[in-house]
């Protein structure tokens, strides 16, 4: 079927301009619960994921709220020690596995990947749906563990506490995470096959948008790291539920072996949480600076380098566990090396602004916030890679601050930025821009107020996972908890105005941001089959201006990046 092409620069009729009997959008294509729960449309699956991860986000956030409320004072006020321990465990387990890891890849990735490469769907659509069910199934097991009484081992499940000593629902929680791990693996298989085999004609590897490269490298990590977590958790389950001794010290087992296996997955996992965010930021900064990305090739190799080197740095979580000095030095060295590609990316994003035409729409505010917060978080990673400093701050709030800067300050900012940027494409509606800008700025300040004092508390010696703490740390905890209140408001605001926009927001044009990228060359929202013709690609990504020329104010995109036959 070929659709008539209007004269607009996008080469495609805006939905409201012409009524030519075009197929309905994917949202209207099928009604009823069955059409959603049994869908194989990657776009609908992305929405399913978005709903469930939002629920988990607020569950994990509720746990964090109680934790920070308790920490206002040095003594115990609200909860007993066991409850507190269960709260921070819930926060970690839910936020890592049921929010952060699926967030960008399974919502934005699922929705955008086929669109960005000009495909109709992912390579294995039914497997995609199975992924969602596995994710939700695992999540339900974890919620069941919570309702049954909770688990108090920390999200890291260190043995022998988790296998022998804990009184919580360890097995149930571990099974839940195990199940959700297979969701990740299935997604990884799907994405890798999709990118290899379903690119539109003319779309060679080095013409791919960086978001696609980010999905690709993240999927490699999904496939290679998650199975090791599955085995590790299976061993904990077997030891706890069937008494099979694997890590039991009394019978010759080694608890440090658990740590090696756990971190072999969990260190690549943190790169799984940041690489998609980096992909989003590359899309946002190019669009709102109206500029091609600075150093595209270096950016691609940086993504690959982070994914590869990230597999070999896990020992830096265990410098105080008694490893030999030689092993420690190797891990320290590799941890410094893995920071180099991240630094390259930060410089290149900054360089993309140079001689651009910079706008300050809300996605760009999130993106600029990302660069600052990621830089600070990444630099504190160097502190942790230096063994003497790490020995002092390991298991203190310094580490907590470091990883929240990356996982929350950076990743969640990128998720929100991407959500806002592609909201018109996904829903066909625009959100109120002023509220969005305010929320982005509030989030930036609330975040810094929450987590920067934790660096100080950590270096002063406040350990993490402490229900009560020595009084000299109180001032930093009060600052941090106050910031958390601000941050909570900043997270609730998008929930409010984005929901509002679904019903009352202005209808979006095909390409409200005048962005490059194949996903903008179809209607907002897209039809079930994504495109009205077959995309064909003739040039590289980010065609905001001709090569070798700087962007001009109000210059529209070069329309010749792709055409529809």
């Amino acid at each position: 079927m070929s659709a008539p092409v209007a004269a607009s620069p996008t080469g495609l009729a805006d939905r409201d301009e012409l009524d030519l009997g075009l197929p309905p959008s994917y949202l209207a294509d099928g009604h009823g619960v069955g059409s959603w729960l049994l869908t194989t449309d990657h776009k609908r699956i992305a929405i399913l994921y978005a709903v469930t991860i939002t629920l988990f986000f607020f569950l994990g956030g509720a746990a964090a709220t109680l934790v920070r409320l308790e920490l206002f004072t040095p003594e115990a006020d609200i909860v007993r020690a066991d409850t507190y321990n269960k709260l921070f465990t819930l926060h970690g387990v839910v936020m890592v596995w049921f929010f952060l890891i699926p967030s960008i890849p399974n919502t934005l990735g699922n929705f955008l990947l086929p669109l960005m490469i000009g495909a109709r769907d992912v390579a294995f659509p039914k497997l995609n749906l199975v992924s969602w069910y596995l994710n939700v199934g695992g999540g339900l097991l974890a919620v069941a563990a919570l309702l049954a009484g909770g688990v108090d081992t920390g999200w890291t499940f260190y043995v022998p506490y988790s296998t022998v000593f804990s009184n919580g629902w360890v097995s149930l929680t571990v099974l839940g995470v195990f199940t959700t791990g297979f969701s990740s693996i299935a997604t990884g298989v799907n994405f890798i096959a999709t990118i290899h085999m379903l690119r539109a004609p003319g779309l060679s590897w080095f013409r791919l948008p960086l978001f696609v490269w980010a999905m690709y490298t993240t999927s490699l990590m999904f496939v290679l790291a998650t199975p090791v977590l599955a085995v590790t958790l299976l061993l904990v389950f077997a030891e706890r539920s069937f008494g099979l001794p694997i890590f039991d010290p009394a019978r010759g087992g080694d608890p440090v072996l658990f740590q090696h296996l756990f971190w072999f997955y969990s260190h690549p996992a943190v790169y799984i949480m940041i690489l998609p965010a980096m992909g989003v930021i590359s899309e946002l900064i190019t669009c709102f600076a109206r500029r091609r990305i600075f150093g595209y090739t270096f950016m691609v190799y940086a993504l690959v380098a982070i994914a590869v080197i990230g597999f070999f740095t896990w020992g830096h979580h265990m410098f105080t566990s008694g490893m030999s000095s030689y092993a420690a030095l190797v891990f320290s060295f590799l941890s410094f090396i893995v920071a180099v590609p991240s630094a390259i990316k930060v410089f290149n994003w900054t360089g993309t602004l140079y001689r651009g035409q910079v706008g300050f729409e809300s996605p760009m505010l999130y993106a600029l916030g990302f660069v600052g917060l990621f830089t600070l978080g990444g630099l504190t990673g160097l502190f942790l890679a230096s063994i003497p400093v790490d020995v002092h701050v390991q298991d203190t709030y310094f580490v907590v601050a470091h990883f929240h800067y990356i996982m929350v300050g950076a990743s969640v900012s990128a998720y929100f930025g991407g959500l806002h940027f592609w909201w018109p494409k996904i829903t066909g509606r625009m959100y109120p821009e002023t509220w969005a800008r305010f929320a982005a700025i509030l989030m930036f300040f609330g975040f810094n107020l929450t987590f920067f004092p934790q660096f100080i508390a950590g270096y002063l010696g406040m350990p993490r996972r402490y229900h009560v703490y020595p009084p000299e740390f109180q001032v930093w905890n009060v600052l941090s908890s106050s910031g958390a209140a601000v941050l909570a408001v900043a997270y609730l605001m998008p929930l409010g105005y984005l929901t509002w926009s679904l019903l009352f927001g202005e209808r979006a044009r095909n390409n409200p941001w005048d962005a490059s990228g194949l996903e903008w060359r179809t209607s907002s929202p897209p039809p079930r089959d994504n495109f009205f013709g077959a995309p064909r690609v003739q040039g590289g990504p980010y065609s905001y201006h001709p090569e070798g020329v700087a962007p001009i104010h109000d210059q529209p995109r070069i329309p010749a990046q792709g055409s529809l036959t």
């Binding site: 799907n190 379903l198 199975p227 090791v228 099979l244 694997i246 019978r251 077959a534």
Partner: protein, 227 residues
Amino acid sequence: MSGAPGEAGAAAHLREPWSELETGPAAAFARQRDGATFGIWIFLASEVLFFAALFLIYTAYRIANPEAFAAAGRATNIVYGTLNTAILLTSSLTMAMAAQGAEKGLFRRLTLGCLAATAALGLAFLVVKGFEYREDIEKHLVPGAHFALRQAPAQIFFGFYWLVTVVHAIHLGIGIGLVTRLLVKGWRDPDVLTENPQVEVTALYWHLVDLVWVFLYPMLYLPGRAG
């Protein structure tokens, strides 16, 4: 081999999103087959990491406790183990034959027979394993208070043994299910298996399960027995 039956078969197997590619049905089907094969290879990579983690645990503990592991290795039943190895290797042969037959659409009865043999051999493996488990329980080779061997780390060997053989058996069970499914589909409709990507996917999965056993056999049955 092309011709009307082949093309009709190809069109029947085509599914989204491969069906929407801008090329004829035969080329699209070839891409779909390639996609399925590519996908299963990536999944197998994840399975390799899965079992590699288990093997790493075994290796670390064996290096730390050589005598206990040798004593424990001597306690496994090498007859059952070797028999099972032979069964599984033969089943890989029959699976490969079935895959070749299905690929070419020739020797339909042989293809179905080989699929049936594969499933039967897989079941035979599980039966032998069942006998072995019963004997292991009778000989008190279950880690716990009444464990038969006196070296404590031998309990770790047997903790690993029970875990990894059960995990392998679950994988094998899934494989038997997949093979049986193909058998039933091929029995009902002769053309379904011809050039069907599902056969290649099942075959590769089966070979991985076999390969894992090839590593497990020397790990579980041969320590302490050499020399």
